[in-house]
């Protein structure tokens, strides 16, 4: 079978010593990031992005992906131990994971979470391997109008996820689109919005904006207001779950994996929705609903599986269509562009080693995490005690060096500082920064495809609704927004 041959190619790529090292170098910091308060994978990825420009494209992607799923694995650790989600999507794990820990069953909860992460990750990677080739070959037939529609879906969908007012999130995406137009226009060579400064001729670097918006803003916020930090009142007695735990959690794990894997394919849903959907489902199916919220193991196993499955199947839209399913994917997409890899359906035919190598490395990384996380859980919990005053100087120094090293230009650091100031103000005004980054990275692609669609249709804007696939995507976008703005979904998160 084709898939098996491709997977063999992937493992050949992923099993080289260098790529294994990158996988470990991504998964381990990712785990640390998922545990440490005040460090989100977005901050660390934007901080380390310039480093990946110095290594091979596949190595860099393997590392970034490792940070991403590593943090997803360990995000549940803090949720269980401290009732503090390390990752937004582990909020759901808090509902039942922390009560379990309070009852002295933190060990089994952590163990089941790790096992379900690994199981979900493995199945999701099979999903990625099976579904990417057909989606990619279908997408090869897409033309500019379909791409325009898909980019709009990614922009609107991820904006709608941020749980702020729709006007402010769409406006943030608009700001990002505008920043994305700065620099030389590819079609005409005209310098736009550079104000005569040649340092802006290549456009505003997205790494600088990401570092400013996420790292600098977050640090200023944390130094300004003290947040209630976690208090460890739980103890790990033994890690091994009872037979009963395993018996009652294997079905939720499978259901969660399927839910997460299916929802993850749609760009703009996000792991939080998947894990929440799984939690609701387990609660519905349970015979005794009152146990939920008081330490039901099903409420840990199902959502954790859904979270990790969705986290990995999010790679499908990114690798087949070039559409990021969130900020982290947008940053990875930007990294691919810098390595000269045009994201889109042609990746699979033009760079099969990259695609399959990444898929194989994700499985290996998940295996590493399973082996590492459980024995080292004591160390991860110790890490929680590191005071923020030692962390933020490190983030600042690494961010500044990283931004400077993109093109050895101090001007980029000033851009980052400006983005930090603007980001601080916008965050005070309850605006989510993620849509801005997405708009910034997708902006040039959107403009290019919009122009091309209009050229194909001879200036007829109805082309988007007369072509069936683009109509379908646009309708799906509308439905997604309507569903996501339902009060019952927004209340919880």
């Amino acid at each position: 079978m084709d898939v098996i041959q491709n997977l063999r190619l992937g493992f050949e790529v992923a099993l080289t010593a260098q790529n294994l090292l990158y996988c470990l170098l991504g998964a381990l910091p990712g785990t640390v990031v998922g545990v440490l308060p005040g460090m989100s994978p977005v901050i660390v990825i934007s901080m380390l992005l310039p480093l990946t420009f110095k290594i091979s494209a596949i190595g860099g992607l393997i590392m970034l992906a490792g940070i991403y799923y590593g943090s997803h694995h360990s995000g549940s650790t803090t949720a269980i131990m401290l009732n503090m989600p390390g990752e937004p999507s582990s909020i759901v794990i808090c509902f039942d994971g922390h009560p379990m820990a309070q009852q002295g069953r933190a060990g089994p909860a952590l163990c089941i979470a790790a096992l379900s992460s690994f199981f979900a990750g493995s199945v999701a990677i099979i999903f990625v391997a099976l579904f990417s080739p057909p989606i990619s070959s279908m997408a090869l037939k897409f033309q500019a109008p379909e791409y325009t529609a898909i980019i709009l879906l990614a922009l609107v969908g991820t904006s709608a996820l941020s749980h702020k007012s729709i006007m402010s999130t769409l406006g943030m995406a608009g700001l990002g689109l505008l920043i994305g137009t700065v620099g030389t226009d590819v079609n005409s060579g005209v310098l736009r919005f550079t104000f005569g400064d040649m340092r802006l001729a290549d456009g505003v670097d997205f790494v600088a904006i990401a570092v400013g918006l996420f790292a600098f803003t977050e640090i200023s916020f944390r130094l300004g207001a003290s947040r209630p930090q976690g208090h460890i009142n739980t103890r790990i007695r033994d890690l091994v779950p009872h037979m009963g735990d395993i018996r009652s959690s294997w079905k939720p794990i499978i259901r969660g994996t399927l839910i997460g894997g299916a929802l993850g394919i749609l760009p703009g849903t996000g792991p939080l929705i998947s894990s929440f959907a799984s939690y609701v489902m387990e609660k519905r199916l349970a015979r005794d609903k009152s146990r939920f919220g008081r330490g039901a193991i099903e409420g840990v196993a199902g959502p954790e599986a859904a979270d990790n499955a969705a986290a990995l199947t999010h790679f499908i839209p990114m690798l087949t269509l070039g559409i990021p399913a969130g900020t982290i994917f947008a940053l990875m997409l930007g990294a691919m562009l810098i390595h000269g890899i045009e994201p889109g359906p042609q990746i699979m035919s033009e760079h099969p080693d990259l695609f399959w190598g990444l898929v194989a490395s994700m499985w290996l990384g998940n295996l590493m995490l399973l082996v590492l996380n459980l024995p080292l859980v004591g160390i991860w919990i110790k890490l929680l005690g590191i005071p923020y005053r030692f962390l933020y100087p490190m983030i600042l120094v690494f961010s500044c060096i990283g931004v400077y090293s993109i093109r050895n230009e101090p001007f980029d650091i000033m851009i980052a500082a400006l983005a930090g100031a603007v980001g601080y103000l916008l965050r005070k005004l309850d605006c989510a920064p993620a849509p801005l980054i997405l708009g910034l990275i997708l902006g040039p692609m959107l403009e290019e495809n919009l122009r091309r669609s209009m050229l194909i249709s001879r200036g007829d804007p109805t082309v988007f609704v007369t072509r069936p696939i683009s109509l379908f995507i646009l309708m799906f976008t509308v439905v997604l927004v309507i569903v996501l703005y339902q009060p019952w979904l927004r209340r919880r998160a």
């Binding site: 006007m167 608009g174 919005f193 130094l223 947040r227 060096i401 400077y404 090293s405 650091i413 005004l429």
Partner: protein, 210 residues
């Protein structure tokens, strides 16, 4: 290092940030506290944000959600600015879009969203209508970052990191100088080893290495 006793329950002290200032007063110089404790916190309070219509009939327009209102104003300004600046570039037609078309389109969209946000800011109520700006940490972090930007190419990495840490950890430097100096030393050695020798980035370490 309070790693041994991991009781970090600051939720018992709801205003821990403020308390820390009070406790640190003995150590921090008075001029420093006086500098930041000028009215840096602006309040966009309900009475302050009240507007009066110019028709003569005094009808106070109450901005019930100042955050949304301000966001809308920002969007309108940026969108209108983008639209006006785009006029300097060739517009083209819908079929043959010029370089100015897309920014103008986004600008118009942004103005529309801004108007929507302003209207909704006048209508809905926010639970927390007060915007507090605590600019001390932001200003210090950005001062450090800008110091790094100015120094990194001319004076080298060691001095640039010094400037960054000096500003970013200023409060801590006044109270615990040794700790900050040690942090600085460790970070500098680590960055030089990792980025300059390890990854091979072209960054001067000292000013004579340009």
């Amino acid at each position: 290092m309070d790693g041994a006793s991991v009781s970090m329950n600051e939720s018992e002290r709801p205003e821990a940030g403020r308390l820390r200032i009070a406790r640190g007063k003995a150590r921090l110089p008075r001029w420093y506290l006086a500098f930041w404790h000028q009215p840096a916190q602006r309040r966009f309070d309900r009475p302050a944000a009240e507007k009066r219509e110019t028709t003569g009939v005094s009808m106070p327009v109450r901005i019930s959600n100042p955050k949304e209102f301000l966001v809308g104003v920002i969007f309108i300004i940026v969108g209108a600015g983008a639209f006006l600046l785009s006029q300097y570039y060739e517009m083209g037609s819908l079929e043959q879009m010029g370089p100015g078309y897309f920014p103008a389109l986004v600008g118009v969209m942004l103005v529309g969203l801004g108007i929507g946000s302003v209207v909704s800011g006048l209508r809905t109520t926010d639970t927390d209508p007060i915007i507090k700006l605590n600019i001390e940490p932001l200003a210090l972090v950005l001062a450090g970052v800008l110091g790094f930007a100015f120094l990194v190419r001319t004076a080298g990495l060691v001095l640039a990191i010094a400037a960054l840490i000096f500003f970013a950890c200023f409060r801590r430097l006044l109270s615990h100088p040794v700790e900050v100096v040690v942090t600085y030393a460790v970070l500098t050695v680590f960055s030089v080893l990792l980025f300059v020798y390890g990854v091979g980035m072209v960054i001067p370490i000292f000013w004579w290495q340009q």
